[in-house]
Amino acid sequence: MSEAELLNFLAAALSIASQDRLYAWAAALGAATIVVCVLGELDGPVRLPAEHDHDHGAGAPVQYFTPPAKPASPSPVIAEASPHVPTASPEIVAAVAPIAAVPVTAMPALVPVSNLRPIASVVLSRPVVSAAPSAERFVPEMPGDFPDPPYPRWARQQGVQGRLLVLVDVAASGAPSSVAVRESSGHPSLDQHAIDWLRHQWTWAPGVPRRFLVPLIFELQ
């Protein structure tokens, strides 16, 4: 579109706006917007999406997301120091450090701090050979390839949502040697879809055999 055409177009848009009917719409729209704004304020404080979106009502297994605990000693210093955690006594320090390292601000909607509390119990026995413990905390930061599974079309159309916890054994080669459902989403087909994807699409960097618990949340907006 040339400049002249664009100007012509905008001029025409303005001339339309000068007609009574559009005024009426604009007034109605403005009034409605104000009403909704006002009502929106009465609505109470803005809720974080995390609280709302992850509540799928009864039926969804939520064990590993429930405890609303506070993170223990949130000191980022420990997190940065964590590669130097003494290998002889990894338990408690390792348990605390990763929690401190949770980049809460990065993805507040998806990773409420409270959700990560159970990490303490699974992390403290991390294999000591792990070169950079804090770097292995999160999927995007681990070396490897971890594409998100697609949302199955049938599940989307039927409004099926769910969360599951998958246990992945990673062989020395970095390929998953076994993928199993630890906590089901309640829909066997959704579970199957997730474990098929992880088994075939996820690869870790070669190293020692490792085990991971992968929480997956399928949610519709």
Partner: protein, 664 residues
Amino acid sequence: MSPFHTAFLLAAATLTVSAQEPAPQKLKPVVIKGSAIGGEITAVTPPLRLSGAGLEALSATTLGDVLADIPGVASSYFGPNSGRPVIRGLEGDRLKIAQNGTSSLDASSASPDHAVSLDPLTIREVQVLRGPAALLYSSSILGGVVNVIDNRIPVERLPRAFTLFGRAGSADGLRSLSALAEGSAGDFAFHLDGFTKSTTDLSTPIGRIADTASDSQGAGFGVSRVGPSGYVGLSYSGLDSTYGVTEPGVEIGLRQRRWDLACSVNAPAAALKSVSYKLGVSDYEHSEFDGGVAGSTFTNQGWDARVDFELTKIGALEGVVGVQSGRFDFAVTGDEAFLPNTRNANDALFGSFVQSLSTDSRLRYGFRVESAKVSADAWTHEGLVSNPAAASASFTPASLALAWVKDLNAQWSTTLSLTRTERAPNFQELYADGPHMGTDAYEVGDRTLGKEKGVGLELELAKTRGTISGSFSVYYNRFSSFIAQQANGFGPDLTGRATPGPNYSSGVDQLARHDFVSVPADFYGAEAKVNFQLQDEATSKHGLEFFGDSLRASNRDTSEALPRISPGRVGAALHGLQSGWSWRLDATYHLAQDRFATDETPTAGYTMVGASFGHDFQFAGAPARFTLRLTNLFDVEARNASSFIKDALPLPGRGLEACLKLSF
């Protein structure tokens, strides 16, 4: 953490460490977001989508009806059996209807009495795309694009499902039964569906309307091989339908057979998230029977194919690019041969992207460049003066769309879109020359027509979260060239031709002549929808919804109204869900249309009131759902302003419809 727990964990840790058995590390949750009702997740997510229970609850009989409740959408309503959606006053070839992404290859855009070859009973999902995402399917996007998904080619392993769905209605004497079976065996997934449907003459407040009954059967079968890196699938489907078009003794017999092939590969290269290929090959035919004798036959044989490359996210940019190519031969023979045989070719290159500018704003943009060619055979007009020679016309439409999305806060967002579209004139607009019963006119095309060109500006304000949600938009679509039908006296003498229909009032053997001409046109309007969620708990939900739309369309040269424009409506609905019961009460006031084109008549305003109730229960251990729906509760005589035959045919009268769905 209690001391006991600590001790236990220490012990467990020591044990596992000493056993050299690596205990699992828990990773950050992987959140897979699907979009049930739209929202912009990727460059191709449709802003509006209907599927599952929402689609069934509508219990519509035409695609036009399926979408008619959405603000900004009307149905062209040519009797109860053919209705195409009309979005923001745009219809026909201006509003692309795609089937699984490829063209539906029917004859519905040629005439309002031709049904879309997609029965709502076979539709599993309808997507309405607007703005840059719509450029994946069409270059004419000011109204949007409707993409219908039938699930016939499975794209993943499917849970075993067997569903029976029966419906019966009083206003149109509807009886329908449809069945669906899906499942997987090893690497193969299959889909099978079929339906049979019949309706009787439509009951309206002015009595039953003759010649509106219908009888349809359809079936589809698809199978896919699904593997870790993608799928490849094939489907075959067919539709046979016979329906009346309100003209005495005239019936249309429609038959379509269609093959579809689809495949997709995940991450074939580092730069690509997926590559998918789709091909549809169709053989469509319909005959218009007058008193049991085939009068004219329309055929459309063709194919449409596309390849979509979904790009890996690079920095803040995501997108899809692709190519689409299609050919179809369209022919009319018999009394209604108002067109020469044409061969139509269309090749397109397109892209649609979304780029994050900051945490709260995004830019979406897209382009589509097409090469369109329409070649017409020489043809001889029976008893008429002109015998047009063979001709062909080529066009290169280019469309662009840009949308800027800004999140004002956690709840509000606003979108400003600027669109420029171009559309090549179709075979009918170029080459028509003859009596067309569907529009009751002698139609004359113009072989010198240029591209249809328009620009559009839209501002949308949406509140997506919270107990009050909704959206408002205002738009202005300005066509510098809009291909319209303009009345131009009467056609040539057609002594001995079929009797003209109800709109016809001058002369005995003459039809009003309509010329396809290019005029400057303005469309502007507003749409709004707001929902107050009064109660929102897991087992109990109640809400109050208000909606409305408004549209004005004029020929800018003459300031005259464009024909068949629904002026707008306002409505409210109260809906709820409680312990397995769901219900909805709605009332909509449709505005009177007093701005109308020459040859048109005004329509009065009317109020439609409806109610529906649904109940979920277990039947012999299987989930079941029963729905009861009341329409036009007060039996109001209503005329749809966007219908060609509104003067002859009011909307259906009071009706009761019951549906039962059983899933095994």
